[in-house]
């Protein structure tokens, strides 16, 4: 599937590039925040529903359990080496290194969604249960990140319950899991009358959302004072390494090419919704300008443009 790189010329990716170019050229183009938030909610509901409907069709399979376990393990483990790299090579203090590490153990919904679209139009649709794997991978990294931060220093007085609550009931997690459940219950027939909105319109809305993501990522990159060359380097290295490991593990547990590529994309992606919200609450001393610059302004664009076709290619070679 060398065709992965052709996807760079699909309207989705081109809209992302347009947004980034506009922001770099300091155009005043901007998407109203309410619309951006609305599209983001729509994408999560749609992908949850579609995943649920697919699992309702295919039933639960051993593949699914294996992928879920592997995903959980990665989300727990990725933050550890990332933390040490950020401390040693990235020269961050404990709290900031822990906060950033948590982002890379977790995942980005929009990276996954874009990857799934690219894979599907290349004839390699990932399995529907990957949405459940995505949901599972969102939060474990947060726990590990906080544990890493606390080891270093007494990290202030957190309302622990508050945090667990915020993390597990983060709006994006609830919507994703809830929509997945609704898709499971509704099945193909129940989904049919709402498919025009949640399926047919999906790719068009994704184009507009990626336009906004291009604007947001590039603006953030321009304003990112805290981003050193070393940290920018890590923000490219992390997805490369994590994604490759992800694809390799997926190949080992016997997933098909499209699903393995999607698994790699999940491993490579970094959170910019659930984890930052949790970190702002639990580690307010950590600098949001730093972790958002890395995950949103460097890793996200890297994955959208290079990572997705790369992991698709790797998966097609390894399997």
């Amino acid at each position: 599937m060398t065709g992965g790189f052709e996807a760079l010329l699909s309207p989705m990716i081109l809209f992302f590039v347009l947004g980034a170019a506009a922001a770099f050229a300091r155009s005043d183009l901007s998407i109203p925040e309410a619309m951006a938030k609305g599209m983001s909610l729509y994408l999560m509901a749609a992908i949850g529903l579609k995943g649920g409907v697919q699992v309702a069709e295919s039933g639960f399979t051993p593949d699914m359990a294996a992928a879920a376990l592997a995903g959980l393990a990665l989300s727990f483990l990725i933050p550890l080496p990332a933390f040490f790299a950020l401390r040693r090579f990235g020269r961050l203090d404990t709290v900031n290194a822990a906060a950033v590490a948590a982002h890379y153990g977790s995942v980005s919904v929009v990276t996954f969604v874009t990857g799934a679209e690219v894979l599907t139009s290349g004839g390699l649709p990932p399995a529907g249960y990957m949405v459940a794997v995505l949901a599972l991978m969102e939060t474990p990294a947060i726990v590990v990140g906080l544990w890493l931060a606390r080891r270093g220093a007494a990290a202030g007085t957190q309302a622990k319950g508050d945090l667990l609550h915020e993390t597990l009931l983060n709006g994006s997690v609830v919507l994703l899991v809830g929509s997945f459940a609704i898709g499971l219950v509704a099945g193909k027939d129940g989904f049919a009358p709402i498919a025009p909105v949640f399926d047919v319109a999906f790719r068009g809305v994704l184009c507009l959302f990626l336009l906004d993501m291009g604007l947001v990522a590039a603006r953030r990159l321009r304003e990112a004072r805290a981003l050193t060359a070393r940290l920018a380097g890590l923000a490219v290295l992390f997805p490369l390494v994590n994604g490759t490991i992800g694809v390799a593990i997926a190949a080992l547990i016997g997933l098909d090419v499209g699903t393995a590529a999607a698994f790699g994309i999940l491993a490579a992606s970094a959170s910019y919704i659930a984890v930052p919200a949790a970190m702002r609450l639990a580690l307010p001393q950590a600098d949001p300008g730093l972790y958002l610059a890395m995950s949103l302004a460097v890793t996200f664009p890297f994955n959208i443009t290079v990572g997705i076709p790369l992991f698709a290619f790797l998966a097609s070679r390894m399997i």
Binding site: E33, D162, N170, V216, Y272, I273, R280, L281, P284
Partner: protein, 103 residues
């Protein structure tokens, strides 16, 4: 002519995920009335920001409360240690209000 009395208006710029915490501290200081205003962006030592509603940690709100001097002091004292680490901005000033008993 209605009578007015002096009270304190406290304005706190606070990250959206931390609003609950500020509300809890205000309630602990005996303050039960407040209003939240939206913001669009800004700049400070931490660089520029603007609310893009995409990232989960970047929206800020303005928490505004009118209260008496004692409660204002209590809230300010409770928040002072958090201002730096949490990136809050706290400003207070004197205002005239009509229904003294309400604040």
């Amino acid at each position: 002519m209605v009578e007015t009395v002096q009270r304190r208006k406290i304005e706190i710029l606070v990250d959206a995920p931390l609003v609950r915490r500020v509300v809890a501290l205000a309630e602990a200081a005996g303050i039960t009335g407040y209003t939240l205003l939206p913001t669009l962006g800004g700049a400070g030592h931490g660089g520029r920001w603007s609310d893009d509603q995409v990232a989960g940690a970047d929206a800020k709100l303005m928490f505004v409360t009118i209260t008496n001097d004692a409660k204002a002091r209590a809230l300010t004292d409770a928040l002072a240690p958090l201002l730096q680490s949490h990136g809050f901005l706290l400003v207070s000033g004197v205002v005239d209000v009509v229904r003294a008993e309400k604040f």
